[in-house]
Symmetry: C2
Subunit: 348 residues, 2 copies
C-alpha cells in the first residue's frame, strides 16, 4: 500500500513516519524504489559520474551490487559498458528484468537474484563495481560489507569502484525546542507518568532534515573511507573530533552527515555530493544525536571528543554509537559552562 | 532509530514514508507507540468512552486486547475496573510493565506477553473487552480477528466491547494532478521506460490525508459491523454503494474511511469518531483508490457499484479489494460521459 502525505501539518509528518513501519517489510515494495529514484541528488550523481567516465566504462564488465530496478546498470550499459551484471536479493529484480528488456538492454545486462555471496557471475572478474550501498549515517543498514566482498572476490587489479570515497562529518546543533518537547512529552501522557520511555528516546539518534542555520559550530570531518582499500574491520572505529563555536547559543546535540565522491578522469573534478544540511535534500537527510547536556556556548568555545561506532553485538545490523565529549568553554563563565560527558546511542 | 521531518517540502514528505520502511519491523519500536498516543482523536475517544461509562466499569474485569504501552488498561483501572488484563505480543509490554508499576496500578493490571490465543488469563471470563484494533481502511492488518476470538472465548454473556460499532464509508474524489503525476512519472525515468511499474502503482490504494473539498459526491455508508455479533466470515464481504455528484468536476478515484462508536449509558450520546476527510486528523488518514477512468462529471450524475473486500489467498494479512462501478452521467453528453468498469486492488 502506498502511503504519502500532502498536507502541511508538522504533527502529521511526525506521526506518519514510524506508524507506517509495519506495512513494509523489505525492498520488495515499489515505493522505496520510487523514492530512491526520485532522489535526484543521488541518482543524477551516479549518472553524471558514469557519463563523466565514459572512456573508463567503454567495453568494460561492470558489476552493480544491489541493483534494485536496474537504473545504475542501464546507465553503465548506455554509456559504453560491454556487459553489466546486476545482483539483488529482493523481488524487485523481477521488475528490473522487465525494464531492462523493455529498454533494449537484455543482451548487455545480466540480472541475478540472490545474495552476492551465493550467485555465480557469468564473468570471473569485473572491471568496475557500481553500487548505491549507503544507509543513514552512511553505515546504518548499509550494504558496504557486500561491496567489499565483491571487490575482494571479483574486481580486477586496478579496477574501479563507483563511488570510491566517503566521509562522515560532525558539527554542533541548536535544537532546544524540539529536543525538550520530545523528552518532556513522556512526563505526563494523559495524566500518567511515561518517563520509562525517556532513556529509550535519548539513546535513539534522529534522522531528520535540519535547517543549516541551526548548526552553530565549525564542521569536522571525522573519518574518510577509501573503498579501494578499506577493510571490514575499519567500519568498527573510534575517531576524534573538534569543532569551534561560531556564536552565542545553545548546543543541544551534534549532527552527522556523509559526503560521497566518485572516481574521475585525470585532471577532472570528480562528481561528488553531500548529505549535509548545507546541501540540497537527499533521502538520507542528517542524523542528530542529542547530548545529555544542553551546552550554553559562546563564540570560540571548543567542543571536542571521540565518536565510537561499532556493530551491535546482539544484532550486527544495528549500530552502537558512543560520543564522549569535553566542552571547553572560554571567556565568560568558562568554568561554569564547561562540561564533560559520555553518551551512548543505539541505531536500530 | 527515530525518523521525523520538520521541513516543509512536499517532495520530502512523499519521499520519506516508504524509504523508512526497512528500519522498523514491528510494534517493538517506541516511535509507533508515541504516534498512536499522540493521535489525540484516537486516545481521547477511548478515555472519554471509559469515563462516560464509569458505572459500567465499576468492579468489572476488563481485557485489553493488544495493550501496547498500557494506556487503555490504565484508563480502565483508573475509572473503576476491579482488574484489567492487558495482552500483547510485542516487547513493548515490558515497557508497559514499568509504566503500570510506576503509576501504581500493578495490583490492578495484569500484563501478559504472548498471543491471546496462547496466554492463560487469571480470570475465566471478563466483563468488558477494550481494544484499539483498527488498521488503515479499518481492516488492513487489523487485530479484529483477535478481538472476536477474545469475545467468543472470554466475554461474559451481555458483556461489553469498547468500541462496538464501526462502519466503512465511500465518496467520489477529484485528484487529477497527483494521480497523473504518480502514473506519468514512470514514462520517463532518467530517459528510461519504467512503465512496467504502472500496473503496480494502479493497484495500490494510497493512504493519505485528503482535503475535504476534493470530495465532490455525496457520501455512502457501505457497511457497518456490530462487534457484539459480527463473525469472522463477515469480514469477507461484497457491498453496493451509490453516490451522487455535487458539482461539475472530475472523479479520479474514490475515497474510503471508517467511523467508530463506543457503547454509551442509556439515554446518553455515545462517544464516536470519524477518520473521514471532514473530521480532524487521525493517523489512519483516508484511503484512496484511483479508478481506471477519469470521470467527467456534472451535478446529479450517479456513481454506483460494488466493493468487494477479502483477505488475499496467498497472504491473508493482505487485502484484495475489487471495485466494480457504473458511472451514470445525466444531462449534458450523458452517453459519452458514462462508464462501466471493474478495478482490482491489493493492500499489502
Amino acid at each position: 500500500m502506498s502511503k504519502t502525505t500532502r498536507d502541511e501539518s508538522a504533527t502529521d509528518k511526525k506521526e506518519l513516519n514510524q506508524f507506517e513501519q509495519h506495512y513494509f517489510t523489505s525492498y520488495d515494495h515499489y515505493g522505496i524504489h520510487e523514492e530512491m529514484l526520485q532522489d535526484t541528488v543521488r541518482t543524477l550523481s551516479y549518472r553524471n559520474a558514469i557519463m563523466q567516465n565514459k572512456d573508463m566504462f567503454k567495453d568494460k564488465v561492470v558489476l552493480d551490487v544491489g541493483c534494485g530496478t536496474g537504473i545504475l546498470s542501464m546507465f553503465a550499459a548506455k554509456h559504453g559498458a560491454k556487459h553489466v551484471i546486476g545482483v539483488d536479493m529482493s523481488s524487485i529484480i523481477e521488475m528490473a528484468r522487465k525494464i531492462v528488456d523493455l529498454n533494449g538492454f537484455s543482451d548487455k545486462i545480466t540480472l541475478l537474484r540472490g545474495k552476492l555471496e551465493d550467485v555465480v557471475l557469468p564473468f570471473p572478474k569485473v572491471d568496475i563495481i557500481i553500487s548505491e550501498w549507503m544507509g543513514y549515517f552512511l553505515l546504518y543498514e548499509s550494504m558496504l560489507d557486500t561491496v567489499l566482498y565483491a571487490r575482494d572476490k571479483y574486481l580486477v587489479e586496478g579496477g574501479l569502484i563507483f563511488p570510491d570515497k566517503c566521509s562522515i562529518h560532525i558539527a554542533g546543533l541548536e535544537d532546544s525546542e524540539y529536543k525538550s518537547e520530545k523528552l518532556s512529552y513522556w512526563q505526563d501522557v494523559y495524566g500518567f507518568d511515561y518517563t520509562p520511555f525517556v532513556p529509550i528516546v535519548k539513546e535513539e539518534p534522529i534522522v531528520d532534515t535540519v535547517d543549516n542555520n541551526a548548526i552553530n559550530t565549525t564542521k569536522c570531518k571525522m573519518i574518510e573511507f577509501d573503498l579501494n582499500t578499506v577493510k571490514l574491520s575499519d567500519l568498527d572505529f573510534k575517531v576524534p573530533f573538534e569543532v569551534e563555536v561560531k556564536r552565542q547559543d545553545w548546543i543541544n546535540g551534534v549532527i552527522c552527515w556523509f559526503d560521497i565522491v566518485f572516481p574521475a578522469p585525470k585532471g577532472k573534478k570528480p562528481i561528488e555530493f553531500s548529505t549535509g544540511a548545507h546541501a540540497p535534500y537527499t533521502h538520507w537527510k542528517q542524523t542528530v544525536f542529542y547530548l545529555e547536556d544542553d551546552l550554553e556556548c559562546e563564540k570560540g568555545d571548543i567542543l571536542r571528543g571521540e565518536l565510537t561506532c561499532s556493530p551491535n553485538k546482539r544484532n550486527n545490523r544495528d549500530l552502537d554509537v558512543k560520543i564522549s565529549y569535553e566542552f571547553e568553554a572560554r571567556g565568560v563563565d568558562a568554568k561554569e559552562r564547561s562540561r564533560k560527558n559520555e553518551n551512548v546511542y543505539l541505531m536500530h
